[in-house]
Symmetry: C2
Subunit: 332 residues, 2 copies
């Protein structure tokens, strides 16, 4: 069997997760890593060639990849990198700025269609699996609303975006933010009443903050609690801790979530569906989903399709290593 | 908007559920019911024309349906009815004899392809939603096995097949069978050890049996406990009850289930996904899923595709009432 040749674009947490995930998928192989700073990557990684991402034609020619998995950030990297690479090669990415997905889709669709490539965008677990679960819940339970909750476990889910936001505050040396779901609100959804929630009704935020020497804790706490969008709408708990505490107790990237929809079928019989996921490593979870979508991207390309796709546009069988016959016999 | 015209083939529990579900889907309408015994159906239902199912050309010509939802049984009805109707019209069915799905798929594929129709087979919640969840769990968590459990609630899930099996025993006047999941086995799966189970490790069976006058309870209990396939492999609890008890306490068709898969991502970080559904009415749940697949069948047909499809072959967006733009903006 000819393996699917994958280039990993970006060597951050997600990129390293993709490299690890590819080893668990026997029909695929990493053929290279491309990065803005290949020399730095090479210091810690030399399993496959590492090349300069800007030299697109050079690495495509040297590595002959079937697909590139774009592991850059949604804020600055993907809006530029995505369309540029979609014009050259099949791509998969985890663009996760929900409100900008329509415009990103349009840009990727135009670039990919013009070049005759496939670009699967915005996949991972949310957007991604959760998007799919929201759509099928709504389709199979018309009239129900699908709600997303995050951080249901005791420790909550680590939010990279909110941790980064804390670290931008002057006087903050390091920080981690855990999101917690409001249990009572989940129960309310489960009753089938399709409640109206504000953001603060659904989640609370817990911050572990290491201060720089001489920083004003009270002022920083006030800055956190009033930060628009990130913390102002939420009940926010703040712990000032030592760097040692943060390193020991707040290591890793655990996250988890729930999609839940409740309503009725027929003449008022209660009905409820829930999708729950728990990840020891959030970036590795995203990586696993990206890799399965890279398989789908290559299949779509082999069929002669082109343009941008999301998980909503792809038959589930395309994600699977297994043949149609195996799926019919063993998975149906 | 032109509504999708649906014929409901069969007026049992699922057929009545489909008629109710269509009223919750504003883009679709029931244009007729076809049955082996239209006169009997007409005694309780006259909202749309009721016609003889065997007069296929007549009802297709009179009702001008876009798709027929086949609500007959998997044992005797669908193996014959399915291919015959697939040769005439787009169809959707809930054929649920798992071990025979490959051969049923082949028969439906041939009939539908020859006629240029679409046949979506074997959908509902299992096979159906659960099949999709098994495939994506396996694709996103390579190496994990997806397990299905049923009857997690206190009362368990009502199994029609096992209730029917009880009623075939001489001396049994009426009966209901509830399936219960073995909680400890679910917990074992959640640990990520991908355990090997026998059927009896995963579920127990609880029977409520009304005896005919003079029947030998002990002998019947023995017959139940040793019935191959249905009860012999399971721990089985038997309650002999009055018809009044059965009518009052065992009414309705509640069922529920769980697909659960656990494993690791990357370098050994724990990962777990679970899909849980709970239905006040099992046949209405099946009906809701069938109706969304009828929408997908018509879209596939409008694209000029043909042949048999399962939920694994259909992009999730096709099930949705919402436009591509709405899905990108509100569901991703």
């Amino acid at each position: 069997m000819k393996k699917i040749r994958v280039v990993v674009a970006g060597y951050g947490n997600v990129g390293r997760g993709v490299l690890a995930a590819l080893k668990n998928n026997p029909d695929m192989e990493a053929v290279g890593v491309v990065s803005r700073n290949p020399d730095r990557v090479k210091q810690s990684f030399d399993e496959v060639p590492v090349m300069q991402i800007a030299d697109t034609d050079a690495w495509i020619s040297a590595l002959q990849p079937d697909v590139a998995i774009l592991c850059g950030g949604s804020k600055d990297d993907l809006p530029v990198q995505g369309p540029a690479l979609a014009a050259k090669i099949n791509t998969v990415d985890s663009f996760d700025n929900h409100s900008r997905i329509p415009e990103y889709f349009a840009a990727m669709d135009e670039a990919a269609k013009t070049a005759g490539n496939i670009s699967v965008i915005s996949t991972g677990w949310d957007p991604g699996i959760f998007s799919m679960e929201r759509v099928v819940a709504n389709a199979f339970l018309p009239g129900s609303r699908a709600y997303g909750f995050y951080g249901l476990g005791e420790k909550g889910g680590l939010s990279m975006g909110h941790s980064d936001a804390l670290r931008t505050i002057p006087g903050v040396k390091d920080a981690r933010q855990y999101t917690h779901a409001v249990t009572e609100s989940i129960e309310k959804v489960r009753t089938g009443e399709n409640p109206e929630f504000t953001a603060g009704d659904m989640h609370t935020r817990e911050c572990f903050v290491v201060l720089e020497e001489g920083a004003d804790a009270e002022k920083i706490a006030e800055t956190i609690r009033t930060m628009p969008g990130y913390f102002a709408p939420y009940k926010t708990e703040i712990h000032f801790v030592s760097q040692e505490f943060l390193n020991e107790k707040c290591a890793g990237f655990p996250h988890d979530g729930l999609v839940v929809a409740a309503g009725t079928t027929g003449n008022g019989n209660p009905a409820r569906v829930e999708y729950r996921c728990q990840w020891g490593s959030n970036p590795e979870a995203t990586a696993n989903v990206l890799v399965a979508h890279a398989r789908a991207a290559v299949r779509l390309a082999d069929e002669g399709q082109k343009g941008a796709f999301t998980i909503l546009d792809i038959p589930p069988a395309y994600f699977s290593l297994h043949s149609k016959e195996e799926l019919l016999a063993k998975f149906m």
